[in-house]
């Protein structure tokens, strides 16, 4: 199917995607700032990776920032794409068939919202001075900051997209080019995989 045969994006779609891209950029910058402030102060003092060569430490920090800032941007973009793919359209009554890109966008939204519920729930019930487990950790296990959100949410979203795409491909249900939003969604899924690769580079550079 050629590029011109795809279902075009309307003006409202482009508006939604632009707004989500801007919001994603803001969230990525906020995540980056929080990481630099909280980890930068401890960079040489209590950082367990301080025994590594400085060059490796810097590479590791750069990769982590790319992974987490990218997760923030991709999540908001995914929510925007979900709105574009699933919003009701008045032009033709027939719903467009959804493809793997739409699935990736929907999973990004669903998993990000599911984890946000957990995050908010633990933020509400967390006492001011939380009791510690025997190993010294807070028993609920979620770090209530932006960085902690992406540490947990990104692998979940990537795994869900991998699961969906694996099953669609293995069972012969993979149908490409259902529309421009599907094509963008496939790029979104590919970007999640790329961030997985970035995280892999972090593992190779230095222990997590």
């Amino acid at each position: 199917m050629g590029r011109s045969d795809l279902t075009p994006l309307t003006r409202v779609d482009i508006l939604i995607l632009t707004a989500s891209a801007l919001l994603g950029a803001v969230l990525a910058l906020a995540t980056d700032r929080e990481y630099v402030v909280t980890h930068g102060q401890n960079f040489s003092a209590v950082n367990p990776h301080r025994q590594l060569p400085v060059r490796l430490q810097l590479h590791r920090h750069t990769m982590i920032r790319v992974a987490h800032d990218g997760s923030a941007a991709l999540t908001v973009l995914g929510i925007g794409l979900t709105l574009v793919a699933f919003r009701p359209r008045s032009d033709d009554g027939r719903p467009r068939r959804k493809g793997p890109g739409d699935v990736a966008a929907a999973l990004t939204t669903a998993l990000a919202l599911a984890f946000a519920v957990r995050w908010a729930f633990e933020a509400v019930i967390r006492p001011p001075t939380p009791p510690l487990a025997p190993n010294g950790a807070f028993p609920l296990g979620v770090y209530l900051n932006l960085y902690g959100y992406w540490v947990e949410a990104r692998p979940q979203i990537t795994a869900a997209v991998t699961g969906a795409w694996s099953v669609l491909a293995l069972l012969g249900f993979w149908r490409r080019d259902a529309g421009r939003s599907d094509r963008l969604g496939r790029r979104l899924g590919a970007a999640w995989f790329a961030l997985w690769g970035v995280q892999g580079v972090v593992y190779v550079l230095a222990w997590y």
């Binding site: 590594l52 068939r97 959804k98 984890f115 609920l140 979940q156 669609l168 230095a206």
Partner: protein, 198 residues
């Protein structure tokens, strides 16, 4: 020709024979159960029985994970011995799709952990040998997300066609286990913490 084209689209217009539950199926499932229990005991002998106060955690993260994996493999094997057309139809139903997703995630997780052990740099004085439980945890760590992804994918693309046969129902039960485990990991742990605080 028309049937093959319809099957490639995921629709099955022809009536297929019933999926009977035979003695061979029962024997295979008993064998899968035995294998799962033996694996659970081998992987984590200390966690085979629940500790007081940790029943729900044991229920979702204990030997049940090995049992769910063994049943997923068993159901796939049982569908593999059916006639080709029936097998293809079963494989495209959500029950066996969940089993495929679960086993694929375990393969991904296990190989990823082995790769991680192989290439990552260790802190000084770290133990590079990992217990069997660490490999198993890495294998099933993302299984819930894989199953959720598989089912959401089938549903959104319009391919969700639940079958009225025991293989699909059993597969859906296995998939449901992983989804409930995901929900428990999300809010159940926190809820348990709140309930115990009162």
């Amino acid at each position: 020709m028309a049937v093959a084209a319809a099957e490639s689209r995921g629709t099955f217009p022809m009536r297929l024979p019933r999926v009977r539950f035979t003695i061979f199926d029962a024997m295979a499932l008993v064998a899968a159960t035995a294998f799962g229990l033996a694996a659970a005991r081998g992987i984590d002998p200390g966690g085979f029985w629940p500790r007081p106060g940790f029943f729900l955690r044991w229920l979702f993260f204990g030997p049940s994970t090995c049992l769910a994996a063994a049943w997923a493999a068993g159901l796939l094997l049982l569908s593999a011995v059916r006639p080709p057309r029936l097998r293809n139809r079963l494989l495209r139903q959500p029950g066996l799709a969940a089993c495929v997703a679960a086993l694929a995630s375990m393969a991904f997780g296990f190989l990823g952990f082995v790769g991680y052990i192989g290439v990552h740099t260790e802190p000084p004085n770290a133990l590079s040998m990992q217990p069997a439980g660490a490999y198993w945890f890495a294998a099933y760590q993302r299984t819930s997300e894989f199953v959720i992804g598989a089912w959401v994918g089938l549903w959104i693309t319009g391919r969700w066609s639940a079958g009225r046969n025991w293989v699909d129902r059993a597969g859906r039960a296995v998939g449901l286990f992983w989804i409930v485990q995901f929900a428990y990991a999300g809010v159940g742990v926190a809820l348990n913490y709140v309930l115990r605080s009162f």
